[in-house]
Amino acid sequence: MSMFRSKKLDLGGFVNGKIIRDHTKRKVFEQHEAERQALRYVIRNTSLPQRARAQAQLQLATMHAYTRSTQIKNRCVAGGTARFIIRDFRLGRFQFREQALAGELPGVRKASW
């Protein structure tokens, strides 16, 4: 969503629209995480009045989708693909292969056993 997006590009490295969008989601989630957790606490706490808990539920549901962590998808830092991301390197499978063969990933070697 454009209202969340930073006015100036704050990413280095490979950039495309999807990466910018995902990055925006991450930042928005970070901003609102405490609020979400507080609401979640109120919802889970059975000792609070039912009314307050229901309201907290509503409020959590009305929060913007970008404040939700499930919207975040790990993307390849070097190529932007969203599938088969190796988390240790934040790379997609092909980028990982290329960089590993080029010796850019410390300690990664071709294996055979």
Partner: protein, 288 residues
């Protein structure tokens, strides 16, 4: 000994004298560290000389059997030494006419690391070294143990911990060719060095020293245990007062302000205040 207090210098000397190390090992490996008799030292120093001359050529290590007379014959030829400091070193050694002996601390570099004996065996610090290459981690653990010795810390290890093997299998190309895949692995080697009954400040100094001379490609992780006397509670009470006093300024920012205090209960507040508003917290962001 000045070299004792400055292991960096010691190391550098070690690099210069690498050939000496090898010849020393070959000549008198089984001997205890007490090597001060000149009769043994003459061949070692002269073999150093020989080695410097030879290293550009075959790189073979000279045996102990090389007689000094042959070496001296080689030395008289001016052709073999383009580097000035090397010749100086040779000349100096020759000038000493076989009475030269390297400082003990330098000799120790070529032998197995010395260790102090732990008196109580109480573990104080666990240092884990991690690397992807055996050479790096072995070298640095050796360095760490030597440093511990010179700081007076009893160190045990390096204990080789289980390797961490991570493997990935990726298709070489598009999914159509899923049958052709490639395997990659990353093996992390670990070494554990344990310091026993050392002074906590010395341990800190040791760790700081290791961090200062951190080796490339070697990661470090230290667990430090601190021991206290049996009357912990008393000490805690004492320090508690101090920390409370130091935190007073910070705590003054916390809590409810006097002017906003009311007698309403928490449940009332939850019913009445902003929790009742159903507007989305982001609606104001959207309207901007």
């Amino acid at each position: 000994m000045s070299l004792l207090s400055c292991p960096r210098l010691l190391l550098r000397a070690g690099q210069r004298l690498q050939p000496l190390l090898l010849s020393r090992h070959s000549s008198s490996l089984k001997e205890p560290p007490s090597i001060d008799t000149p009769s043994i030292d003459i061949p070692s120093t002269s073999s150093l000389v020989k080695d410097n001359v030879m290293s550009s050529g075959e790189g073979l290590l000279p045996d102990k059997s090389n007689s000094p007379s042959v070496l001296n014959g080689q030395l008289t030829q001016p052709s073999g030494s383009p580097e000035l400091p090397v010749t100086n070193w040779e000349q100096r050694l020759n000038g000493l006419s076989g009475k030269a002996r390297l400082p003990r601390s330098v000799q120790a570099v070529y032998l197995r690391p010395l260790r102090r004996k732990a008196e109580h065996g109480l573990p104080v610090c666990d240092l884990q070294l991690r690397s992807y290459s055996v050479r790096n981690v072995e070298f640095f653990s050796d360095f760490a143990i030597r440093a511990a010795y010179y700081l007076g810390l009893p160190a045990s290890g390096p204990v080789p911990l289980p390797r961490i093997v991570e493997r990935w299998t990726v298709p070489r190309s598009n999914f159509v060719h899923k049958k052709s895949q490639e395997n990659f692995e990353r093996i992390t080697l670990r070494r554990l060095i344990q310091i026993k009954d050392g002074n906590p400040e010395t341990v800190q100094a040791w760790l700081a020293f290791l961090r200062k001379y951190a080796f490339h490609g070697v990661g470090m992780k230290a667990n430090i245990w601190e021991y206290d006397s049996l009357d912990v509670a008393e000490n805690l009470d004492k320090t508690g007062e101090e920390t409370e006093r130091s935190l007073e300024g910070l705590f003054s920012y916390f809590g409810q302000r006097e002017d906003t205090r009311s007698d309403r209960s928490l449940t009332d507040m939850l019913d009445k205040n902003h929790l009742v508003t159903t507007k989305s917290p982001l609606s104001e962001v959207g309207s901007r």
